[in-house]
């Protein structure tokens, strides 16, 4: 890892100021960024730790029923505290990485990194999350732009994420046996008048909504409704862990399982 200046501001305003330096980067839990820096895939001049900013941490329910989670909230906190209001989200958080990783890794860090196999982007996209930054609010539909790409500008930080808890939901994660990341993960969220299905781990473009399945399931929320659908393998990730056709097939299987659990 190349040397850098480490700073740990106590407020969002100070963090924003510290990020003005050229090639400064924010540090959340560091469970992705620190390994990336060791590999010299990232080499900031200044690393701005967000871990002393209390306004970034915590979980609450807003007046309009949204579940608001601070960007610096760890996976372990979400797993422990979000269950009463949004059980499927708490269950997803409880299966990210391992316990030691969950004690450090944060919601905001995961969304900002937008790893194509991360779990949280699927939940955010399926549950119509609004991502509030230190400058604006971005709808999840406009946030994820591709593999490791988001709508975040330089120096923009995720302050809070507001999830719309559905009537029922389920996340199915098919583990890549070595890394325990999602080889494919499918999040199904059922609302009063529509269903959202989002898929992680499968596409070369990162997390995406499977709109054909959404349309079918909005009419008839049963696994059999998927029978006639065929998801193309084009644009799916193909690697030593599974070819594109296999991933496309898994998407359909896991969607069915998620529907069966959420029905």
């Amino acid at each position: 890892m190349y040397e850098f200046d480490f700073v740990k501001p106590a407020s969002l305003a100070e963090a924003s100021a510290a990020l003005e330096t050229e090639d400064a980067l924010p540090l959340g839990g560091g469970q992705t960024l620190i390994p990336a820096m060791k590999q010299r895939l990232a080499a900031p001049t200044v690393l701005v730790s967000l871990n002393a900013i209390s306004e970034l941490r915590g979980i609450c329910v807003s007046e309009d029923g949204a579940l608001c989670i601070g960007g610096g909230t760890t996976h372990a906190q979400v797993a422990a505290e979000a269950g009463a209001h949004y059980p499927a989200l708490a269950e997803l958080a409880a299966r990210i990485g391992d316990p030691a990783v969950r004690n450090r890794g944060t919601l905001g860090g995961s969304l900002a990194n937008n790893d194509p196999a991360a779990c949280y982007p699927a939940a955010a996209l399926a549950s119509m999350a609004r991502i509030r930054t230190n400058g604006r609010e971005i709808a999840a539909d406009d946030f994820f732009l591709g593999m490791f790409l988001t709508a975040l500008e330089e120096r923009e930080l995720i302050v809070e994420v507001r999830f719309e808890p559905p009537n029922s939901a389920n996340y199915q994660k098919f583990l890549q046996p070595a890394s325990r990341f999602a080889l494919v993960g499918v999040f199904v969220a059922r609302y009063n008048d529509h269903v959202r299905v989002s898929v992680t781990g499968a596409s070369e473009s990162g997390v995406f909504r499977w709109r054909e399945a959404e349309a079918t399931l909005s009419t008839d929320f049963v696994p059999d409704a998927l029978t006639g659908l065929d998801l193309s393998a084009e644009g799916m990730i193909s690697d030593m862990h599974g070819p594109a056709e296999y991933r496309a097939h898994l998407v359909k299987v896991l969607t069915g399982r998620a529907v069966a659990q959420a029905a």
Binding site: M1, Y2, E3, F4, D5, F6, K8, L27, G30, Q31, I34, P35, M37, K38, L47, S49, N51, A76, G97, D98, P99, A100, V101, N103, R104, S179, R180
Partner: protein, 159 residues
Amino acid sequence: MADISLQVNGKAVVAEAEGRTLLVELLREKLGLTGTHVGCDTSQCGACVVHIDGQAAKACAVLAHDVEGCEVTTIEGVAAADGTLAPIQQAFHEHHGLQCGFCTPGMIMSASALLAENPKPSEAEVREYLEGNICRCTGYQNIVKAVLAASSKTAGRAA
């Protein structure tokens, strides 16, 4: 280089370190606490697990300066001051929960974090909690046995 102040195993410590110094490097190289091992250095294997303010964390994926002011417990801080083993350590000894011993510090630190938050885990819960700790010798059977045995005893200081 800047100074870092923190508590390690109950003692106040001040050390000088670069920004890029990892917590595990601070512990091993600056403080001489070599019980915390570096296995994979990619946050997969769990040999470097320590407690930061009571929570298990992989010390190879945490920057030393980010734990300024925190309370860190390493494997050296688990036994009593007179050397009496903590119940979880005694259980690993009695149930042969190790062979080469390289993963053991991380296993003990993860297991004690589990027992602190869930004093009576099921076998499935023990296996799930130790997902981030890799052992290449034992096949995990005796490790799981040891954690379950420790859980059935009166909770000790670190277990």
